[in-house]
Amino acid sequence: MPDLSSALHLAASELTLAVGALVLLMVGAFIGDKSARLVSILSTLLLIAAAVIAVTGPWGSAFNGAYIADPLAIYGKSVIYLSAAVAIILGDGWMKRTRIAKFEYPVLIVLASVGMGMMASSGDLISMYVGIELHSLALYVLAAYHRDDVKASEAGLKYFVLGALSSGLLLYGASLIYGFAGSMRFEDIAAFAVDHPSTGLLFGLVFLICGLAFKVSAAPFHMWTPDVYEGAPTPVVALFSTAPKVAAMVLIARALEGGFGESHAQWSQVLIAISLISFVVGAFGGLAQKDIQRLLAYSSIANIGYALLGIAAGTSQGLQAMLMFMTLYVIDQLGFFAILLSLSKSGRPIRRIADLAGLKKDRPLTAVALTILSLSVLGMPPFSGFWGKYYVFGAAANAGLWPVAAAGLVASVVAAFYYLRIIKLMWFDAPVDDVPTDKAPVEAKWIGWACAAFSFPLVILGLTWLEPLTKAASAGFGNG
């Protein structure tokens, strides 16, 4: 047994989070629900500390290769932990306003982050599966967190049942792969696949991809997404659409390129098909939506298609594009949800798109921020969303996937319709009623504005900083 202390040193960020979550659980259990604010603040600090520990920690692999700390894992983890921290801040204010403030919310997010960290640095099939279960189980509970709300309970139950089904697919695939390759570790599987290309292995791989595609809500495994996004509490949806997606994308990249680099030709076809279906479902499904969160669900389905396209390219440039795209997308999403949380009329949150009409009179600054974020998700240059798509389409075209990239471009033009509709409603339509919006909660308002400011103009500075980081993170993956 190689010494335990060095292994623990490598996994220090997860260890910090796990031990910290236990301590916070004790704090909450002894002080009671009054401690919700305190536990939230401490959890936020804990997640930031974990991100710092991950970034400054050593590289290497531990636990017989089950845990990998490399630049890809570290980059993924810092994005995951920081966006989870933002979700805790957003959730704290929201829970207080809806009077369901409980200390379990931040604790569950911290525990989910442990699982997402495991996913980002998993080097074998067991740690992959345990990481996925760890974070999904916490997310199921969070989806149903507002337990007196029928829609939230429905969202939780739907997510749980369909999530269990996808875990079944994933496990079936994993057991086939283990059966044929004789090893759980991605490295060994890759080494085995070089000498023995096997149909059974590919069969398992397809099941594995199906299970993972479910977790990132890529079509045709997206059925749960609109309902869960509509029913779950808004700050929880903000979490759903950011950290777990990044974790699962990093995991997909690692499993496919680390474990099955040899069969790139086969799995890239599957990913391309999934991307294309996601483009279509996301772009056309969103057109008819009336609920903002349902709209964002379809938007996330389409965006996951773009991110998967980066992985499908199979090059390190493609992986870099995926990381870039996901980072910029996460910031846009956090901004979108923060603004959504900051808008309410006579104590009721704004849910329907039509309710945004005439927002410019009431809240000019928020309307500007929402406009910037919409243009950014739409992919308008020079906003941040454009740069994400620019990298992905560039990488796809370089890998010879230009027809798919063209299809993605068309889909984003179709999707532009629903973002432009939001902008039109805010700036040119008369408000539906004379009720002014309530005073916006400070934290949500500022996070929304900050994310919008990042989308434009700070993104230009951000790119010069993100580019080398993502390049370092994706080095060593893919074929050239």
Partner: protein, 207 residues
């Protein structure tokens, strides 16, 4: 020979009872079929030389999980006939999908068998010098400590989730306060009243 017969018998029983779990009309019967499926799988484990896992399967799944299922199914007030209303309507579509899936699996299995099922890999022979329990004990807390601890956190999340989603603090419920109980003494709880001889005491007087 005997082993092959045992294998095919157990495997067939496991598969058929698995099918019956899904198709049985009465959910209590489903759980009973599930228990049979667990028993047959335990038998398969014994054939593989993994007696400890077989015992665990019986103890944990049959003893705890399945019995828990049985309780839940019996206690739930769900109209199962109503739940099955869509069954016939979706059956053709489901049958097509599962038929395609089955055909694909058979095709792959055939292709795999033709190419040499395991590519010369043979399962590791169970070593005779250590028992099952020893073999698991050697790796569970050493090689697999990472997974073991992570699985522990999964269970912790399940517990936190169950409590968060179901626990309600109702205000008018009397709860046990152990500190109060321990600190009680005779002077606080017993009062000596003098009663007139021959008259007895009434409840009003005592209060």
């Amino acid at each position: 020979m005997l082993q092959s017969i045992a294998f095919f018998l157990l495997a067939a029983v496991a598969t058929v009872s698995g099918l019956l779990v899904v198709t049985a009309r009465n959910p209590v019967h489903s759980v009973l079929w599930l228990i049979l499926a667990f028993f047959s799988s335990a038998g398969l484990f014994v054939l593989l030389g993994a007696e400890f896992l077989a015992m665990l399967l019986v103890v944990v799944y049959v003893g705890a999980v399945a019995v828990l299922f049985l309780f839940v199914v019996m206690m739930l007030d769900v109209d199962f006939v109503k739940l099955r209303e869509g069954y016939a309507r979706y059956l053709p579509f489901g049958a097509i999908i599962s038929g395609v899936l089955l055909a694909e699996m058979i095709m792959v299995s055939v292709a795999v068998v033709q190419g040499g099922a395991t590519n010369g890999r043979t399962p590791v022979e169970p070593s005779l010098d250590v028992t099952n329990v020893q073999a698991i004990g050697r790796v569970l807390y050493t090689d697999y400590i990472y997974f073991f601890q992570a699985a522990g956190i999964v269970l912790l999340i399940a517990m936190i989730g169950a409590i968060t989603l179901t626990l309600r603090h109702k205000p008018h419920i009397k709860r046990q306060n152990i500190t109060d109980q321990v600190n009680r003494d005779r002077n606080k709880s017993v009062e000596v009243k003098s009663a007139q001889s021959g008259q007895g005491v009434s409840a009003e007087e005592l209060l």
